[in-house]
Symmetry: C2
Subunit: 417 residues, 2 copies
């Protein structure tokens, strides 16, 4: 048994508990100890020793791999730096830490000849990091887009299926444990932003400045928007998107209208999905559970076993698991991107309103593909839904300003795929 | 440049040509020569030397990897055995050879310390073999099901969308080059059978006897069946399925009705898809192009680069790329499997027919979930569509025999997911 791989776990919440349970089937992995917030709390799994100090794990002489499933930047940034300096490999699900301080951590890991694996940080149980680095390594990618947050996908699905409001869905999701008491990280798109940054990093081989990513959440999506989108043949999903535009990278997070012909529109409830486009492969999509105790543990334990299969035979670690790129991507400002747009408008119900909308758009080089009047509201205004062809965000923002100046109320602007 | 990896290619058809084109971006890989049927034919790619004898490639002293994209059992079985004995690694897309003689080839490869990689053999450009062996390695799988043949999926999609017959679709697919002049391998399910055998082999870690796989193609699917299925909320797809039933393996190939809520029902045209179910991951699905010059080259070149990244640093080859299981799966006879069923029936249009169908099914322990009379045909018979709950194939075959004895004409029996 001298060949056992020894791990320490930081965090015994949902994912950490799942990891301990799954590892019961892998006697070649020994859990030395775990760090938890409350060492006296009763738990469904047993671990040799518990500590409430993560540095005890990071400094423990017997531990080969630190499994970090606690999340957050502080103190995990310093904890993992300590572990790396102690020549421990890292397996982490911490997308926020990777998105904000990945560059520093990967450099340090290279310096100390250890690896950081993070399959669980993006899309939970769906294998995506490893396929990009392995089976798809012959490809140059042009685009990655995904439904990367299960909570918001659940809310949007329920809004559509049960025709209820965002707030009602959020409450229900909170009651079911799908959304947290403070749902900001999910519903404002932060979680998706960290994940698309982590994905874009490996898909395009460039470092990403997470502060430059345009981000919009789902709190402004109304049940009306969902219904109008449906009538026009779309579903609304919160999308993390990163695509090449020449030498620049267009990376952003916002709700999108997805045509129902696109398979990603059909990924409902808490499921995640990632679409990749590249040469030579073309377009492929992976879908599955993006969170949860066991799916996430599948990815964490997969990473642990990947390290084990390497270090048991030699001191050589897969070069592919390193992060060797140092150049930052040239990230586009949202105003320099292009999209199709859905615009929900309230306008005075008089002759010429639709013509006005059309002429303001035309003046700003925006072609309309669809314009529908949705009837008269109680206040006498007419609701008009416009869908545009592909247009520049700058032109679109100029058109919106002009429409507002002319007394037209913009209920919502949602980009479309 | 002493570190260049040297390959020989057998087959310069669509896939082989794609591989040569893609490798132009990888100067670390050198193509020594290629084997083709006709060495004087004009080609869109250039290779150092051409031969029409595959053994020249298998015996060439400079070649490190033999890339076999010619297909077929003869002479490739002997060619690859020769190459392996010459200590060459193999990258192949030959699902028929792997399904029929994989055991022999993998044993020989282990003996000679070389690997056989075959990502391109199943689902073209979709990474599936490598994710199962790598990111998903913590899982015990219970089920794999897939749309594994693009030609038949194209035909079924067109039959549905354009409401035309199988024969009309086949002709169109042949004109477009999606189907071969002799379409047997695709439309009778042989191609899907080889692929599900290859998949089941690694998903369940057991050898598969391809001769014991139940197989049905799509030639009996009528435009009526497709329409009736649609009315009931299903699409018809040709499915390769392998699932555990206790210690036995239920592995088969046949058309299936898929509920439209199941994402796999929406994988249309020439796309492929693979659904996996396991613990701890749950259910995941991969979809993308299952064939074609460039998607398939993505997988072939991915395998070549995987071998390169291993052998450039040491003489150690990934243990995961070996095939170390020797036990054969206990494959169920189709009569011992269970499914839901769709039955299209022609019966005399008289009182009691539906009652008769119901009572014969009930007598054979088959519960019906749906029974619809589809109107009277010109010959005076009534068409009745029955969908059952899950039932045993043996019971179902007994019920069909009994119904036929009572003068009822069975147009088609299609299993449902």
């Amino acid at each position: 048994m001298e060949n056992k791989l020894k791990i320490g776990i930081i965090g015994l919440g949902t994912v950490g508990t799942g990891v301990v349970k799954v590892l019961q089937d892998f006697p070649e992995i020994e859990i030395i100890g775990a760090c938890v917030k409350n060492t006296s709390k009763k738990r469904s799994v047993e671990v040799n020793f518990l500590t409430d100090d993560p540095f005890v794990i990071a400094n423990h002489p017997e531990i080969d791999i630190v499994v970090e499933v606690a999340g957050g930047v502080n103190p995990m940034r310093d904890v993992l730096k300590t572990a790396i300096k102690n020549k421990k490999h890292i397996v982490t699900a911490n997308k926020e830490l990777l998105a904000k301080h990945g560059a520093e951590l990967f450099d340090l890991a290279n310096e100390h000849n250890v690896v950081i694996l993070y399959e669980a940080a993006v899309a939970g149980g769906i294998p995506i990091i490893s396929p990009i680095k392995n089976a798809l390594r012959a490809n140059k990618f042009t685009r990655v887009a995904g439904i990367l947050n299960g909570t918001t996908n659940y809310i949007l699905t329920k809004m559509e299926q049960d025709q209820i409001s965002y707030n009602e869905c959020l409450t229900r999701a909170q009651e079911l444990g799908y959304a947290e008491t403070d749902p900001t990280g999910d519903v404002e798109g932060f979680d998706t932003m960290y994940k698309i940054a982590t994905l874009a990093n490996i898909v395009f081989g460039k470092r990403i400045d997470v502060n430059k990513i345009y981000r919009e959440g789902i709190t402004n999506i109304s049940d009306d928007d969902i219904k109008h989108a449906e009538d026009l043949g779309y579903k609304i999903k919160l999308i993390g998107l990163a695509q090449l535009d020449g030498d620049s990278l267009d990376i952003r997070v916002h709700p999108m209208l997805i045509p129902v012909e696109n398979v990603i529109s059909l990924i409902d409830n808490a499921l995640n999905a990632v679409q990749l486009e590249g040469t030579p492969v073309g377009q492929i999509m992976f879908t599955g559970p993006g969170a949860g105790e066991f799916p996430t543990a599948s990815s964490v334990v997969g990473d642990i076993l990947a390290i084990k299969s390497e270090i048991k035979t030699s001191d050589y670690i897969l070069p592919l698991t390193r992060c060797n790129h140092h150049e930052y991507a040239n990230q586009l400002n949202i105003l320099d991107t292009k999209s199709c747009y859905y615009i929900s408008i309230n306008a005075e119900n008089r002759v010429g309103t639709i013509g006005l909308i059309g002429s303001v758009c035309a003046k700003n080089s925006i072609n309309l593909s669809n314009i529908v009047q949705k009837g008269i509201k109680q206040d006498g205004t007419a609701q008009v839904i416009v869908v545009t062809e592909i247009a520049s965000e700058r032109d679109m923002q100029n058109a919106l300003t002009e429409l507002k100046e002319k007394g037209i109320v913009i209920n919502n602007l949602i980009r479309a795929m």
